[in-house]
Amino acid sequence: MAEAHQSFEEYCRTVFDAKKIFEKPEAFKGYVAISTTQYILGPSCANYFAELGAETIKIELPRRGEPMRHTTPYNEPFLYPLSKQMPDKGTGLGFFGANHNEYFLSVDFHKPEGVEIVHRIQAKADIQAENYRPGTFDRWGIGYRQASKINPRLIYIWMGGFGGWGPGRVRASYDILGQAQGGTFSITGFPGPGQGHPAVGLPSKHTIWLADYWGGMMGCFAGLAALWWRDNVSGTGEFIEYSQVHGATRIIEGTLPLYGRYGVIRQRWGNWDTELCVHGIVQAGKSSYPGSNIPLEMEPGQILISAPEDSDYAKLCKLVPNLAPLAGKYARYEDRIQPAAQTEIYTALEAWAKDKTKEEVWKLMEDNNINSQPVWSNKEASKQEHFHLRDELHWLDDPTFGDVLSQGLPYHLSETPARHRWVFKPVGADNEYILQKYCGYGLDQIRELEKNDII
């Protein structure tokens, strides 16, 4: 038990102890979620419910499964097998982050027997995430309009690119289309020429499938709120529509108010900050891995130095000889934040860090109480005891694939923590379990369905 006499840190280590996660209850034990999804946006949304304890049934087309199973960096890493029918094929790592803990059912939605299976599961489900093209499930008879008649308490989250109505409704979308069309590209990366920044670059994407994964979180939050409303207030289900292109517009900060009132079109400012200084990423000229022949490790290091307050800046100037001449000139925030000042300050910092590794700079900053953080690759981040201790990253003994390094949990709950059981399973791995439990089918019926390519 967490005691009052513990230090705060010990107390946190006790209540959030990753080793105790499986001794605690799950927030959504007994809840049933359906994931009729593909790619990342819809799957990740359903996955967040699976982490919280809902029994989540992922329904895919038989044999080959959903397209994301065939997506992997450079076509190199795969996890085998893909399905019972295709044991020599594997699932690509694109499938990795968005399908933890789920049960895998394969159903051909196009056939009436398949529709019947979906209806039987919908009758018992609390949540459904779906991201086929708008209206497709409606046409197949398994959309919200039909499902809500079978089960009025069902919360149905449709997610996709542009939404099912309006001028763009027929347009296909992907994560980076959301990022491009929503405006996040236009404010990320190094600025165009002649904008007062020494480095020049193009609008840049967020390298991760941000609009998908984070969009899934937005859908999940709406779903959690709908569950709360259903169970505590209304008793009724809900239909939610989430457009990832719009989602990307929602997080471009104050860009729209600025444009609307002042006509200012926000641009890019590289690795520095338009609102805080010093608060930017500085190149440390020396590689941290002198003996390495891996190109990414031979590159110079990068480190964030954050000393935005006047007092931090004064401290930094004492520490960095190259900055000393600029100490008085830019002692005040309002002078330091100007574009020309930032160029001068960061140039001086980079000149100083030219013969240092990012670790050397980091140590100096840490010793002097200045916030800083090396720019870590995934390899460097994965070696941090911190993230493993907190279960934000872990080696998972997966029942199908053995030891895998996997992302852990996005947040910590002291009483009902989320948890990961397995990363995913082959296509149709849980057909028998799900069809018995939710549809009332016996083995003979299941074999029949298999024979007729329904599952």
């Binding site: 009052a4 705060f8 959030f16 209850p25 959504f28 450079y74 076509n75 190199e76 890493p77 790592l93 982050g97 099912g164 109505w165 309006g166 001028p167 763009g168 992907y174 289309l177 491009a180 590209f185 236009s186 990366g189 609008p203 840049s204 390298t207 991760i208 941000l210 994964y213 984070w214 937005m218 859908g219 999940c220 959690l224 169970d231 505590n232 809900e238 457009s243 292109v245 719009h246 929602r250 471009i252 729209l256 609307g260 926000r266 690795n271 805080l276 930017g280 990423i281 190149q283 990068q302 934040i337 953080q373 690759s377 995934n378 994965s382 907190r390 934000e392 996997s406 947040y411 009483e415």
Partner: protein, 471 residues
């Protein structure tokens, strides 16, 4: 440096181009084809939100965060879904209010009562919230917070790790006063563990620590270097995970346990959860995810391509789109289409993913783009129903017909701030949709109302608090 004066560029009214009408949008569609979009429009259009209930209107959320956006973003989600959100700010207000690009004060927003200027970033996430001031550095201020907590459901804070606990207002103490309280701390790397947060760490700390920045930007061979997001993206992602954790805790409290819990969310963990396949890949063979510019390691075609006058995104991760893309190219440049579709090494989807295959694809594609403007390319590709769209800037985002039609970009005529262009809640819903009710409040604008309503204070009490520097 002296202050830069406002330019004289006239600001266009919004919308500069009229919003399309339903007749224009659904022109030429059969009754059957109109049925589903019409049903959706009747059920989820934002114009009807005022007639519908709000999901979380029975909840009270205290936003005791400052100097960052994670907490404000988190509570925005609650505010949009109907919860009463009270921002508890230090006297003088959260310093984030004062942030404006390059300190350009002429780009701030003033309310018409107090005349306080606030920056656009803060204004956008001040929505549906009220603001009170409370000086937590005074014992009296902390006592008032305790009283406020007694009748609240959620408290979100982001002070340095252990600060609230040391002040006697941490989870350990407040959960004694209100066992139903869901208490959430949001930060960058965490409030415990070897890399725990130091005082006032900001978003890029998390961006740099989690592997995100290292993998973003162009490869070194193209002159690129690790690139941070232009947004405080870890604040937004970490804030969203915090909101998910809190909402899960509320569900559990009200359905099962009757008790709240302690929630912790960080920007680093939020991004690490969603950083694609990085961990699995590295665990398998030690790979470090390389920077790949505006291309994608795992999908081809899936990239932002340079064209005559800008950049355009094109995606075609499976055969159907792949051949449509090259058909589009082939209409202008048959030899380019031929070059690609006749290459045996590019016949199968996954065979297109290795590096050399991507180089071949995109250099061939670029040959077509160099003769096409963004608009020309977009029209040609969309005629073949290929997922594509320009890299758009704020002005184009604001005027994008689809956004205008659906209300994804909208103007609110706020009682205090006047006309503000903004992005409303992005989750539409049929029965109890989230909504924007007001855009923001000046610092402490609701002191009088909240201290009277919740504490039963009279004018003398409030004046006394002000005099003693408590509010």
């Amino acid at each position: 440096m002296t202050e830069i004066k406002s330019s004289d560029i006239p600001v266009l009214p919004w919308p500069a181009v009229p919003i399309p009408t339903p007749d224009e949008v659904y022109k030429g569609l059969s009754e059957a084809a109109r049925n589903y979009p019409n049903w959706l429009e009747e059920n989820v259009h934002f114009r009807d939100v005022g007639k519908k209930p709000e999901k979380l209107s029975r909840l009270r959320v205290l936003d005791v965060t400052q100097k960052s956006m994670s907490g404000h973003w988190c509570t925005s989600l609650f505010g949009e879904h109907g919860a009463e959100v009270i921002m508890v700010e230090p006297p003088g207000g959260d310093p984030t209010r004062k942030l404006t690009p390059f300190n350009r004060k002429q780009l701030m927003f003033k309310d018409n009562v107090v005349g306080e200027a606030i920056g656009s970033k803060f204004l956008h996430e001040c929505r549906n919230k009220s603001s009170i001031t409370l000086n937590l550095e005074t014992a009296e201020g902390r006592e008032l917070l305790k009283k406020l907590v007694v009748d609240s459901d959620v408290l979100v804070e982001n002070y340095p790790p252990g600060q609230f606990d040391a002040w006697g207002i941490g989870y350990r103490q407040l959960s004694q006063l209100n066992p139903r309280l869901v208490y959430c701390w949001v930060g960058q790397r965490g409030q415990w563990g070897p890399l725990k947060d130091r005082p006032w760490m900001y978003d890029p700390v998390a961006q740099s620590a989690c592997g995100f920045t290292h993998g973003t930007g162009a490869p070194a061979a193209f002159g690129g270097r690790p690139t941070r997001s232009g947004m405080w993206v870890c604040d937004y992602v970490g804030g969203t995970t915090a909101a998910m954790g809190i909402m899960a805790a509320l569900n559990y409290r009200d359905r099962i346990s009757g008790r709240g819990q302690f929630v912790e969310a960080t920007g680093a963990a939020g991004i690490m959860r969603i950083i694609d396949y990085n961990w699995g890949w590295q665990g398998m063979d030690g790979s470090i995810r390389p920077r790949f510019g505006n291309w994608d390691l795992a999908i081809n075609i899936y990239a932002v391509n340079p064209c005559k006058d800008g950049q355009i995104m094109v995606g075609g991760g499976h055969d159907r789109l792949w051949y449509r893309i090259w058909k589009t190219v082939g209409k202008d440049r048959p030899e380019l289409e031929q070059h690609i579709v006749e290459d045996p090494a590019l016949k199968v989807v996954v065979d297109r993913l290795p590096f050399y295959a991507q180089v071949e694809t995109y250099t061939t594609f670029a040959d077509w783009f160099k003769d096409n403007s963004r608009l020309e390319a977009e029209l040609k590709l969309q005629a073949e129903e290929v997922a594509s769209g320009g890299v758009t800037f704020a002005d184009e985002v604001a005027e994008f017909p689809h956004f205008k039609y659906r209300g994804h970009v909208n103007v609110i005529d706020d009682v205090l701030y006047g006309k503000i262009l903004h992005s409303p809640p992005s989750q539409l819903a049929q029965k109890a949709p989230p909504r924007l009710k007001w855009i923001g409040r000046p610092t402490g604008y609701d002191n009088e109302e909240v201290y009277r309503r919740i504490f039963g204070f009279k004018k003398d009490d409030i004046d006394g608090l002000k005099r003693r520097g408590v509010i």
